[in-house]
Every structure is written in structure tokens, then in C-alpha cells.
Subunit: 193 residues, 2 copies
């Protein structure tokens, strides 16, 4: 997930992600990050300019990772529906495989802690732009009702997010057949009769 960073940075980012999800941001002090990552506070400040900076790097790295994951295996020649199913199925798999990254994005993508610039970049480096284009295509082919693609993508995403959240809280099953039904529900919500 943090391949483009050096060893020290990786240790800090991984530790911070884990601590923030386990314990909440305010309970995650720099000294705790230092202890758990086995990097001294001084050295952390050698590689990151502030605590905020760590959080923002985390955010950017995860957004990019998620973007690549969701748009994986889109084959040339696949129809709109195939790509739709592939993308959102990828998203569910991603969320189950990297629940900490999922929860981090969930908790912080609307937080003032994340710089506006990071959020703007996220639109391009993440899956937002490609998914909106896909929904646009679906409208063009009369498969979807006429609604703003941006709104529709957000709604589908919200459905999946809450399904995954419910699962992570042990409140519902989320196996292969469930995932299929969930993605189908997303399709049906905008499919033309």
C-alpha cells in the first residue's frame, strides 16, 4: 500500500493507520506512533513536517491504491454492465482485504484535517472520475435513468460503504453471493425499466 515510500516512512504510515483505526486520532500521539513504529520522534520529523502531514500522506496513498484496485481488470471490449460489476465487486473485495484503509477513507475524506488540495487530487487519482465516466456511458446507452452521474455514483458508493460497514460490525454476512446481490441492487436502482 505504501510502496513508493522508504522504509522509515512506511513504518510510520503503517503504524499511524493502525493506531488511528484502533484508537482514534486524538488518542494517537506522536510519541505513541514513535514507540510502535520504532522510529524516534525526532526522526519522524525528519521525514514528515507535522502530524497533519502524516495524515495527508496516508490519505493520498490510500486513495491512489484504492483507485488502482477498483479499476483493475477492466477489459477492452467489456460492456458497461460488465465494467460496472467488476468495479464495485473490486471495491467490496478491497474493503474486506484492507478494512483499515477503508475505514480511514470513510472517517477522514470529509474531515477538515485533510487539506483541500489532497481532496481535489483524490478526484483524479482515485476512482471517482472513471466511475462517473462509466455512469455517463450507461446513461448514453439508455441503460440508466437520466440523473446527474455524480449523484448516482455517490449513491452507489454510499450503499456499498454502508453494506461493508454493517459487515465489519458483525451485523451482516458479506460473502460472494451477497456481494453479487449488493452490486445488482446498485445496478437496479438506476436501471431503466
Amino acid at each position: 500500500m505504501f510502496g513508493r515510500y522508504n522504509k522509515v516512512q512506511q513504518a510510520v504510515l503503517e503504524t499511524t493507520l493502525r493506531l488511528i483505526i484502533d484508537k482514534e486520532l486524538q488518542a494517537t500521539s506522536m510519541s505513541l506512533i514513535a514507540k510502535e513504529s520504532k522510529v524516534s520522534t525526532g526522526n519522524i520529523y525528519h521525514y514528515f513536517s507535522s502530524k497533519e502531514d502524516i495524515i495527508n500522506e496516508l490519505y493520498k496513498a490510500i486513495v491512489q491504491f484504492n483507485g488502482e484496485y477498483v479499476t483493475k481488470n477492466w477489459h477492452e471490449g467489456d460492456g458497461v454492465k460488465e465494467r460496472f460489476e467488476r468495479a464495485w465487486t473490486n471495491f467490496i473485495k478491497l474493503s474486506l482485504a484492507y478494512p483499515q484503509g477503508f475505514q480511514f477513507i470513510e472517517q477522514y475524506s470529509f474531515s477538515p484535517y485533510i487539506y483541500e488540495q489532497s481532496k481535489l487530487d483524490a478526484y483524479e487519482t482515485g476512482w471517482c472520475a472513471p466511475m462517473e465516466a462509466l455512469y455517463e456511458e450507461a446513461i448514453g446507452q439508455k441503460m440508466f435513468v437520466e440523473l446527474e452521474p455524480r449523484l448516482m455514483v455517490q449513491m452507489s458508493y454510499g450503499s456499498l460503504v454502508y453494506a461493508v460497514k454493517a459487515h465489519l460490525q458483525n451485523r451482516v454476512e458479506l460473502d460472494e453471493p451477497h456481494a453479487k446481490q449488493i452490486v445488482a441492487a446498485c445496478w437496479n436502482s438506476f436501471a431503466k425499466a
Copy 2:
């Protein structure tokens, strides 16, 4: 929203809600709450045992308020679909009328800051239980596909939450006709062909 509390408690809760949404929790100090609510710190501690306690009272009060709001105007004799539309339309209206309450619940319902007990109570005092019963009914009448009602309710809720979020960030329109289309999309996602 805080009808069951006394004047002092109301002032504190209203102020805290506003500050937390405007500025983030960590930037909302007790002294700031005291200054803006015009209640001295000493007196705040007379009515609340800690900062955590304020947050948890806020949470419980808003959950209950939202629960009553969403299930408002369910008329005897209304069919499942009418109640479905009424409930989620109420939810959208609620979110637009009380965006701070909406954002608070969004940010804190998964946070470790909220006691587990508060979360458990929320299930009964909020709209979760009645909505699951409604979805159950829809399944019984063969209107909905067979999926866990809990999962379906969460997914519908997620759709609406993200639609409202997108609107609050000025990213999409959310007027009366849009609300209708959004609620229809939620219905269609689980409607039997």
C-alpha cells in the same frame, strides 16, 4: 431538538453541536464551549460529568429526534410503499433542515468516543428498528427481493447519506424532484421485477 433538557443543558448542547461541526472536536475546548454558551466551566461540570458525557448526550438526543422525525406521518392504512417513501423523504427533509445533526451522527456514530451502550440504545430509540420492520413487511408481501432487511436498510440509508453529503458540499442539486428520484432509486434497488 433538546426539548427534554433544561435551559443550561440546552445551551451547552446546542453550542457544542455547532462548534464541533464548524471546527472539529479537537478544536472545541471546554473553555470555548463555556464562552460561547455563556455557561461557566464550573456550571457545565455541574450538569455534565465530562466532555465525553456532553458528546454522548448530544448523540442520544439527536438519534431520538431523528427517529421521531423519520417515522412522522405514517398513517394507518398506508401501504408499505407509501410508508417507505414517507420515511426516506422525511429523512432527506430532516437532513436538510438540521444539517448539523446529520453531520454529527455521520461523524460520530462509528466513533469510539460514543459509548457502546449509547450505540445499542440508538437502535431502539432511532429509526433502525421501525425501518427494518417495514422492509421485512415488504419482503413478506413479495415486493422486495429476499435479502436481510438489516442489510437493505443500511444500503438505502447509505445511498441517502451520500446523496445528502454531496449536496451539502455543493456538488449536486437536491430539490423536491431530485428527492423523489432518489427515494425511487432506493425502492428500485430491492424491488422485485
